[in-house]
């Protein structure tokens, strides 16, 4: 194994990672960026360098905005390794990764974790059936391969990405059979209480309303305030059922795209042993950092959505601010005005967040399954009812569910069940998520082959 060194090793080539690389290069730091995907951009700007013009047109302005950052990153002089799967980050700055079928090491005097977000799991009856995917997954297919649904599709859930995807599908000529919106009426009232944020959020909200009317104009039925969602089928999905205005509705569908927001991908930060806190507004775990993203007294920093959902623009600014802090750790004097400018940008870009958190707060019933038969741990096929039965037997937290029934012990290492398990146990115990805790995540955080270690 080689022991290459750099002033800064970055994990993740989304907005936070790319912007941090650019800022660190301005300070003269040597930078290497690793990403497990084959192309740069993260999920938001996936395939931004080679997506053809007609696809960019469909995806819209917010996607196109990634192109200049990607080009700045390419020209900033940072090293870049694509297809590099990071499986361990040590507190001394050592980063282990597999690339080209070989495990290799890099030592960073600073390490920035910018592993971004993932779609919040949507544990309802039938969500493990083939033909049920995340809306983000379908958007990835569109960004990465230009693939569109062949048959009419049903979109279900809540959150900006769901509406954005619907709009992109319409522009691309894909047929949408229905939009099943789980945003409750009360959410609008809750969001409206967010003062100044709400005032500016109103514009976003109007954009949302405009989009919904566009959908209706295209003949797409929109079922607002829906609840009791379930997916039907034996070997693949064939229908979605739900309650709308007190009536049961059933819509046949071979493809159902679910979405209820995104949550930080915290696998790497947990694996370093860092403290995390339960964010009551975003209903997810966030690593505890100093204002610049540093984890305790370590050389490891976190920026972007993996530190708490802030969106693409704020993620990039967080990456830059972290780069300044890491530069200072290495004895480089940074520009005070630059830092102030970035901080005011960050304030501007995160101003709306409390409003969005309130408006798109996913419904309890779609986070904590009340139907005992709903699969929570997809890998080991552990149900909500089983988890509650473990609690009755004295199980206190997610780690213990492993011993009770292998929950969280499959290949996804708890990524798709962890939040649900924490909240399900918290509800059953009448305890706070912070007291229930999370799985102990250990390296390797991605599967590695013994053959990857053969020199």
């Amino acid at each position: 194994m080689s022991n290459a060194e750099a002033d800064l090793v970055i994990v993740g080539s989304g907005p936070a990672g790319m912007a941090a690389a650019c800022e660190a290069r301005i300070l003269g730091l040597s930078v290497v960026l690793l990403d497990e995907q084959a192309t740069i951009g993260g999920q938001i700007y996936r395939n931004i360098e080679s997506a053809p013009a007609d696809r960019v047109e469909i995806l819209g302005q917010d996607y196109l905005a990634g192109r200049s950052l990607a080009s700045d990153f390419r020209n900033c002089g940072a090293g870049y390794l694509g297809g590099a799967v990071v499986w361990n980050v040590s507190l001394d700055g050592t980063v282990d990764y597999v690339a080209d079928g070989r495990s290799q090491q890099l030592v960073g005097r600073n390490v920035l974790l910018a592993s971004g977000a993932m779609e919040r799991p949507f544990p309802i009856s039938g969500w493990t059936l083939p033909g049920v995917m995340g809306a983000g997954a379908a958007q990835i297919l569109l960004k990465g391969s230009g693939a569109l649904p062949t048959a009419p599709v049903v979109l279900a859930g809540c959150g900006p990405l769901l509406y954005l995807l619907a709009w992109q599908f319409l522009r691309a000529g894909a047929k949408i059979d229905a939009l099943v919106d789980t945003t409750a009426k009360s959410a609008y009232l809750r969001a409206a209480r967010h003062g100044a944020g709400a005032l500016r959020g109103w514009r976003d909200l109007m954009k949302g309303f405009k989009l919904l009317s566009t959908l209706r104009r295209h003949g797409v039925p929109v079922f607002s305030g829906s609840s009791a969602l379930a997916l039907e089928g034996e070997t693949r999905v064939n229908a979605i059922s739900f309650t709308h205005r007190g009536r049961s509705v059933r819509i046949p569908a071979s493809l159902v795209l679910l979405h209820q927001g995104v949550v930080p991908n915290t696998q790497l930060t947990w694996s370093t042993g860092a403290a995390h806190r339960w964010d009551k507004e975003q209903l997810c775990w966030c690593p505890e950092t100093d204002p610049w993203g540093r984890l305790g007294e370590t050389p490891i920093y976190v920026a972007g959505d993996s530190r708490g959902i802030v969106g693409a623009q704020a993620s990039a600014v967080q990456g830059r601010l972290a780069a300044l802090a890491m530069g200072e750790r290495l004895g480089i004097t940074t520009n005070v005005a630059r830092r102030a400018e970035l901080q005011s940008q960050l304030t501007r870009y995160t101003h709306l967040r409390p409003f969005l958190n309130a408006l798109y707060r996913p419904a309890d019933e779609n986070r904590i399954p009340q139907d005992a038969s709903v699969v929570v741990c997809r890998c080991e096929e552990v149900t909500a009812g089983q988890i509650r039965s473990y609690v009755e037997l004295g199980c206190l937290g997610p780690n213990q569910t492993k011993a009770f029934g292998r929950c969280g012990m499959g290949p996804c290492q708890g990524r798709l069940c962890g939040l649900t398990v924490t909240e399900t146990i918290a509800q059953a115990r009448g305890a706070a998520p912070d007291d229930v805790g999370y799985y102990r995540i250990r390296a390797p955080i991605k599967p590695v082959l013994l053959g990857d270690f053969v020199p």
């Binding site: 084959a38 569109l148 062949t150 070997t235 080991e380």
Partner: protein, 110 residues
């Protein structure tokens, strides 16, 4: 097997293609896309069967976190097909239940 694929890719621009196999059947797909995308546009509905209940599973996240798209690629089991780009001649197989060591290389299964 492309008759009822859930997704399709517009062939307007006549992209470069590669041919891979899934369980021995040829699939010709655009170059540069992931194996998972290739199987989805190729009409594959069941990528693997689950480890406990042996029920059909297919990709959920397409970004490397859900591990539902695990298949065998060129003899190596449990590969995340959403993270692996297609290559000419790639042999992909459905994964049934848990991954097993290759008997040819390691002798009898324990």
């Amino acid at each position: 097997m492309t008759t009822d694929a859930l997704f399709s890719i517009s062939q307007k621009s006549k992209p470069e293609t590669v041919t891979i196999t899934f369980d021995g059947k040829d699939l010709t797909v655009p170059a540069g896309i992931s194996v998972a995308a290739a199987l989805l546009v190729g009409g594959v509905h069941e990528f693997r069967s689950s480890v406990v209940g042996r029920v059909p599973r297919a990709p959920y996240c397409m970004m490397g976190v859900c591990f539902e798209c695990l298949v065998e690629i060129d003899g190596v089991p449990a590969r995340q097909s959403c993270l692996v780009p297609v290559k000419e001649g790639m042999a992909v197989r459905r994964q049934i239940g848990a991954a097993h060591l290759n008997e040819g290389s390691f002798g009898e299964e324990l």
